[in-house]
Assembly symmetry: C2
Homo-oligomer: 332 residues x 2
């Protein structure tokens, strides 16, 4: 077994409390004693037991990210990789550990998240991909668990970091309207996610605002490349094919582009395409994808920072909106 605080105490000829105070950088401890104890710690290669510490202090310095999809699917989308990058980076800066929780079904998700927090494995949660009917949010609120949302809740005022997805969709759609497109279709992600509802809403508003009486055309699919292909195929089988697509995600857009190329359509001449996220690959596609850069990394970084702030200073929960930007490239 590894050395305990008692071993250190014995070696340094002090009491365990003193060692504990040295660890905590308590000012009451004299410099000589502290030095003596530190010496003993390195000599014994001592590392404090985090469990014992958490048990006594009621804090773990660990947060968890919950991803509300099955492990099988979650990371197929680069969005999560980017998000994680941002979160990990903030954790590193603040000396927090990061746990991951993924689950496919909603019950399991709630159970797992609650267990981690109530079981005192983590101090708080970051929730990604918020559903419209969010049981988890309600459960966490009921249990007074500190958490921050990536996205926004339809019903509750909670800490969150989000994009203005309605506005994003307006920007993207308006861009196509301005390019003179006549049949602008929207390919949405799953409609049980708030982000999907918001983007659909923005799309609709932009069309209505256009004063050109453009038809609304919304289809739903999953946030995958395959989903994009399939949705595009459905749209293409319509009486009149769209001449522009707003895809709710870059990977969907990738699928769309792939389908279009395979079937001999020119982009953007025949069909213009616009995506969401500005995934790292999007600049490198052929043709390079016009997209809404939502700063996924910042979303992740800020959510972790906010959560840790809440945990440490009990500072009030914020509502942060990360600005997005339309990146015009070759597909429009």
């Amino acid at each position: 077994m590894s050395a305990t605080i008692r071993d250190v105490a014995t070696l340094a000829n002090v009491s365990p409390s003193t060692v504990s105070r040295v660890i905590a950088n308590n000012q009451a401890i004299s410099l000589e004693t502290a030095a003596k104890v530190r010496g003993a710690m390195v000599r014994l290669n001592y590392v404090p037991n985090a469990n014992a510490r958490s048990l006594a202090k009621h804090r773990t310095k660990t947060i968890a990210l919950t991803i509300a999809r099955s492990a099988e699917e979650a990371f197929a989308n680069p969005f999560f990789a980017e998000l994680l990058r941002g979160i990990a980076s903030a954790c590193q800066q603040r000396d927090y550990k990061l746990m991951l929780s993924m689950s496919s079904n909603s019950d399991w998700e709630v159970k797992d998240a609650l267990q981690m927090v109530k079981g005192k494995q983590v101090d708080g949660l970051i929730l990604s991909s918020v559903r419209a009917d969010d049981f988890l949010v309600e459960a966490l609120l009921a249990e007074q668990v500190p958490f921050v949302l990536i996205g926004r809740s339809l019903k509750h005022h909670v800490a969150m970091v989000n994009n203005d997805n309605i506005d994003c969709a307006i920007q993207g759609t308006r861009h196509l309207v301005e390019r003179g497109r006549q049949r602008i279709a929207f390919i949405s992600g799953p409609r049980d996610l708030v982000v999907s509802l918001d983007r659909i809403e923005g799309y609709r508003r932009a069309l209505r605002a256009s004063s050109r009486n453009l038809p609304e055309l919304v289809v739903e699919t999953s946030f995958t490349t395959a989903g994009g292909r399939e949705a595009m195929a459905r749209l293409a089988s319509l009486a009149e094919m769209p001449d522009a697509i707003v895809a709710a995600d870059d990977v969907i857009a990738l699928g769309v582009i792939h389908w279009l190329k395979e079937h001999g359509f020119a982009i953007p001449a025949d069909v213009a395409v616009i995506g969401f996220n500005d995934d790292p690959m999007s600049a490198f596609m052929q043709p390079a994808l016009t997209t809404l850069r939502i700063s996924t990394y910042a979303l992740g970084f800020e959510s972790a920072r906010m959560l840790i702030d809440m945990l440490e200073n009990q500072s009030p929960s914020e509502q942060l909106v990360i600005p997005a930007e339309l990146i015009v490239r070759q597909t429009t």
Copy 2:
């Protein structure tokens, strides 16, 4: 504060030990008592404190994945996303939690990993991207920490799951040789990684085996798209430009292709390209990328499974090699 085992005990009119035994599914407890206790647990919404439990049992049911790059870079490459997918899935199956540790510099990496294990936050580690001079492996070995490697160690016999990277590179290179290419260059990832050394080795062997006396041409870059572009630019500035590229990673290959298209080279007519990994995007690139499918997901899944097996049965450490497959698409 949430309910403790004592609260449950009081409510159920038994001792804490009995409750503990019910939690552990101890057979000695009578069915009635167990039912009574379970009733009390749900009534109190009881969740055992994982810290107290770990402290007493010396086990956490948590493992960590260490990623030996800075948080900033690690997830730019879809390889890690796929890997994580596999690991998370195995953890879910076996009811383990997953922690993440990322670090840019080697000292920090060792410190962080050791701290997690010696601090009893996790029971074992999965190490990704093994360096040639692996301090971490040696440190872990010295401390008798359970771990499994993704990749292989040059110096130590340890639990690992790997591809036969030498063979992969041979397959890929031979494929180009057979297509009659004359100047086959290899773009490697950082040479301090074992995987890089192995792939270079395979490339060399394949060329030598070709009996056509083909020149060896190796350049090094990072595992990024930008790295691929830059490396290709370097190769193109040579007296004689290569007519085939083996890229040690699909994202590198993507950068190569991008550079080639921009500069008006036809693929594969002028230059053939082959990658490694079969990232999800690779099938969808234009032209679709020929690549070695190394089953990244399986790599992750198996490594977690193996680690948990070791942890639970003290079963001997295995050495697993995941087969790879050459996927021929349009770039060769």
